[in-house]
C-alpha cells in the first residue's frame, strides 16, 4: 500500500502478528543503563558509523593534500556537526599549541602588530552562522557524471556558527590604510602557509578572525586555534592556522590564485580571483546511491545557499525540470548560510528525475548545468553551481544523472 514501509507492510483488515520489538520488552526497558559523564565528551551512536567523512578515490594522489567529504546524504538541518565538517588540507593538519600561536598584521598599517590568543579572545566578538563551500565542490561533474552520491558531488560543504573578532576591528586597531590598501593577504602557519588575497570590501564588511565553531574551539582539521571566515567566499580563502594578515595595494597572485582556483574558459583563458560561491542547492534525501524502500509519500529534503546573501526561494521538480513546486524553507534563513528546504512528494513507482533550484535575494537563479556550460564550457573544475539531477528508477534506486 502507498506509504507502507518495507519493514512493516500491512494487509488491511488482516489480523496482524504482535511485533516482538514491542511485546518482548528490550533489555534497555528492563535494565539499568550507563552513568552520566561516562563520556565527558560524547560521540555518536555505534549505529551511526556509516556516516563518516570520506575521500573520493582517485581525486588526489596523496591524502595530506586532499579532501574529505561530508556525508550530506545522512545529515539534517543546516548545522554541520564539527566531527563531520569537510576537510581540505594542502600540507596536512596539525593540532597547534594555542599558547604558542601568534597573529601578525603588517603591510599598509600604521603599526605592524602581534597578538596572542589571550589578546584576540579579549576583543569585541561576534557569533554568526555561515556556510563554507570549497570552490571545487561539484567540480568533478563539469563534463559528465563522475561520482555516485551527494557526499562526493556536494560534500565539500559545511555550515557552522563561528565566533571571533571582525577583521575590521583588527584593521582599525593597526591603523590600516583602507584606501590605498585595497587587499588583505591572509597566511596560514602550516607547511603550505596557504596565502589568499581578500578584497578590502569583504575585509571591512563581514570577514571574521574566528577561534570557535559551533560552541567550541575550532577543530584541528579546521584550523585550530585561528582561521579566517570569509562569508560567501570559497573555502580556500578561509585560511586555517592563520598566522598573518598583510594589507596591500595589489593582489598577491598566490599559488592558489594562479595555478588553482582559476576557472578555465572555452577560449583557453583562466578566470582569476573567482572567489564568490554563487546561488546553489541540492536535494540530499533521496539522492544518488540511495534506494527508496517503497512507493508512496516522501519528504524530499535538501540544502540551498548563496554567497550573495539570503535564499529567497527553492523550487523542486520531480519530472526533470518541466514542472516545479516551491519548497518549505526551515528557519532560520540567514545571509550566506545554508538554508534547509523540505517538500512533499508521492512516488507512484514510475521513473522520476528530482531537481532543486534556488533563488537568492539578489534575484540570481541557480542555472541548469547546460546553461552554465553554454557560457563556461566543461573544463572549469571550479564554481559548478548547476542544478543537480537525481534519477529514481522503478526499482527505487537513485542515480546521479545529467540531462540534455
Amino acid at each position: 500500500a502507498m506509504g507502507a514501509g518495507a519493514s512493516a507492510a500491512t494487509v488491511a483488515g488482516a489480523a496482524r502478528a504482535d511485533d516482538p520489538a514491542i511485546v518482548k520488552l528490550p533489555a534497555h526497558t528492563t535494565g539499568l543503563g550507563q552513568p552520566v559523564a561516562a563520556r565527558g565528551y560524547g560521540s555518536p551512536s555505534q549505529w551511526e558509523r556509516n556516516l563518516q567523512r570520506r575521500e573520493s578515490p582517485g581525486l588526489t594522489r596523496v591524502s595530506a593534500a586532499s579532501v574529505s567529504f561530508a556525508p550530506l546524504q545522512g545529515m539534517f538541518g543546516i548545522i554541520t556537526p564539527n566531527g563531520l565538517h569537510f576537510e581540505r588540507h594542502h600540507q596536512g593538519w596539525w593540532d597547534i599549541d594555542p599558547s604558542q600561536h601568534r597573529l601578525m598584521i603588517n603591510g599598509l598599517v600604521k603599526e605592524a602588530r602581534v597578538f596572542t590568543m589571550d589578546e584576540l579572545m579579549r576583543l569585541p566578538q561576534v557569533s554568526r552562522i555561515h556556510f563554507i563551500e570549497c570552490g571545487a565542490n561539484t567540480g568533478m561533474e563539469w563534463g559528465n557524471v563522475a561520482v555516485p552520491t551527494v557526499q562526493y558531488t556536494h560534500g565539500m560543504l559545511s555550515c557552522c556558527e563561528y565566533t571571533g573578532v571582525l577583521l575590521s576591528t583588527l584593521l582599525d586597531m593597526c591603523g590600516a590604510d583602507t584606501k590605498k590598501g585595497r587587499y588583505v593577504l591572509a597566511e596560514g602557519a602550516d607547511g603550505s602557509s596557504m596565502t589568499r588575497t581578500i578584497p578590502m570590501a569583504n575585509a571591512l564588511d563581514d570577514v571574521m578572525i574566528a577561534w570557535a565553531m559551533n560552541g567550541e574551539m575550532l577543530r584541528p582539521e579546521n584550523g585550530y586555534p585561528l582561521r579566517l571566515v570569509v562569508p560567501g567566499i570559497q573555502g580556500v580563502s578561509w585560511v586555517k592556522y592563520l598566522r598573518r594578515l598583510e594589507v596591500g595595494d595589489k593582489p598577491y597572485d598566490a599559488k592558489d590564485e594562479v595555478l588553482h582556483y582559476v576557472d578555465l574558459m572555452p577560449d583557453g583563458t583562466h578566470r582569476q580571483y573567482t572567489s564568490l560561491q554563487e546561488v546553489k542547492s541540492v536535494i540530499t534525501t533521496p539522492s544518488g546511491g540511495q534506494v527508496l524502500l517503497d512507493k508512496g509519500y516522501y519528504n524530499v529534503t535538501g540544502l540551498a545557499w548563496s554567497g550573495r546573501g539570503r535564499i529567497k526561494r527553492v523550487d523542486v521538480s520531480v519530472d526533470g525540470g518541466r514542472n516545479w513546486r516551491t519548497a518549505r524553507l526551515e528557519n532560520p534563513v540567514l545571509p550566506k548560510a545554508l538554508t534547509r528546504f523540505n517538500v512533499d512528494w508521492v512516488w507512484d513507482g514510475s521513473p522520476a528525475v528530482l531537481q532543486s533550484r534556488a533563488i537568492d535575494e539578489t534575484g540570481h537563479v541557480q542555472p541548469r548545468l547546460n546553461q552554465l556550460r553554454a557560457v563556461r564550457g566543461t573544463r572549469s573544475i571550479y564554481h559548478n553551481n548547476g542544478i543537480q539531477s537525481w534519477k529514481v528508477a522503478e526499482s527505487g534506486e537513485v542515480f546521479n544523472v545529467q540531462l540534455n
Partner: protein, 238 residues
C-alpha cells in the same frame, strides 16, 4: 548583520591597545610573500646547474626527474611550446582532449613559482631551502620547460625579464562578477514553473563499472530512515 541596539561603548575603542608592535625581526621571519611586481623578493640568485642538484636531491622523488610525474601531484612540466613562449598563451589549453594541465601550462606569474617553492617545498620539509636554492630550482623548472637555457642564472635583477617568457603569461582574465557580490552574474537560470522547455532525457550517468568505485554505498548510509544505501557489490536492482 549586527544589531542596531548596540549601546555606546564606555569609551571610544577601549580595546585599542591590546596586542603589541611587531619587531623588525618578527616581520622579517614571517613576511615572506612575493608579489607579481616582485615586492617581497629577497635579493639573490641561483643557477640552473645548482637547480638541477637541488631538484634531483629534494624534488625529483615526488615530481619525477623531468617534472613529469603524476605520482603525487599533477606534472609540473610539459604541454608548453616555443610558440606559446612567443604568444604568452598556451595553445593546449584550448584542446579539450589534452590529457592534463601542468603547472607551467597555467603559470602566469613567475613570482608565484618562486613564492610557492620558497614557502612550501619540499613538501615534507617546507621552508628548508636557502634563497639561492629557491632561485636555482625555480630556474631549473623553467629550464625543464625549455623556457630558460642550461647556463641561466636567475636573480632578482633578471626575473622581470624571465616573466616575459612565460608561456601562459597572457592567459589570465580578471572576472569581477565572481569577485564582487554586487556584480551581475554571467550565468542566470530561469524561474519557469510550468511546462518549462528543458531537454529531459539523460545525457550522462555513472558507468556500470564505476558503480562500486567509491566503496559499497550500503555502508555509507544509515541503517534506518526513508531510504537505504544501494548495495553496490551487486548489480542495480531490477
Amino acid at each position: 548583520q549586527s544589531q542596531a541596539k548596540t549601546q555606546a561603548a564606555p569609551a571610544p575603542k577601549p580595546w585599542a591597545d591590546i596586542g603589541r608592535a611587531a619587531t623588525p625581526n618578527e616581520v622579517k621571519a614571517w613576511d615572506i610573500d612575493v608579489r607579481a611586481d616582485f615586492k617581497g623578493l629577497p635579493p639573490g640568485s641561483g643557477s640552473v646547474d645548482l637547480g638541477m642538484e637541488v631538484w634531483e636531491a629534494k624534488c625529483a622523488s615526488c615530481h619525477g626527474t623531468f617534472g613529469e610525474s603524476n605520482e603525487v601531484f599533477t606534472p609540473i612540466v610539459g604541454g608548453t611550446t616555443k610558440e606559446d613562449i612567443k604568444t604568452g598563451r598556451v595553445a593546449n589549453l584550448l584542446r579539450p582532449d589534452y590529457p592534463q594541465r601542468t603547472t607551467l601550462m597555467k603559470l602566469s606569474q613567475v613570482s608565484t613559482l618562486w613564492d610557492y617553492i620558497n614557502r612550501a617545498m619540499p613538501w615534507n620539509a617546507p621552508k628548508s631551502l636557502t634563497t639561492e636554492e629557491v632561485y636555482a630550482v625555480t630556474a631549473y623548472i623553467l629550464h625543464l620547460g625549455e623556457i630558460l637555457p642550461a647556463d641561466f642564472v636567475l636573480s632578482d635583477k633578471n626575473i622581470a625579464e624571465v616573466q616575459k617568457l612565460l608561456p601562459n603569461r597572457n592567459g589570465k582574465a580578471f572576472f569581477e562578477p565572481l569577485w564582487q557580490v554586487a556584480s551581475k552574474p554571467d550565468v542566470q537560470g530561469d524561474a519557469c514553473m510550468k511546462d518549462c522547455k528543458t531537454g529531459s532525457d539523460i545525457r550522462s550517468i555513472l558507468p556500470e563499472f564505476a558503480r562500486d568505485a567509491h566503496g559499497n554505498l550500503v555502508a555509507q548510509n544509515r541503517v534506518v530512515g526513508p531510504v537505504r544505501g544501494a548495495d553496490t557489490a551487486r548489480p542495480p536492482l531490477e
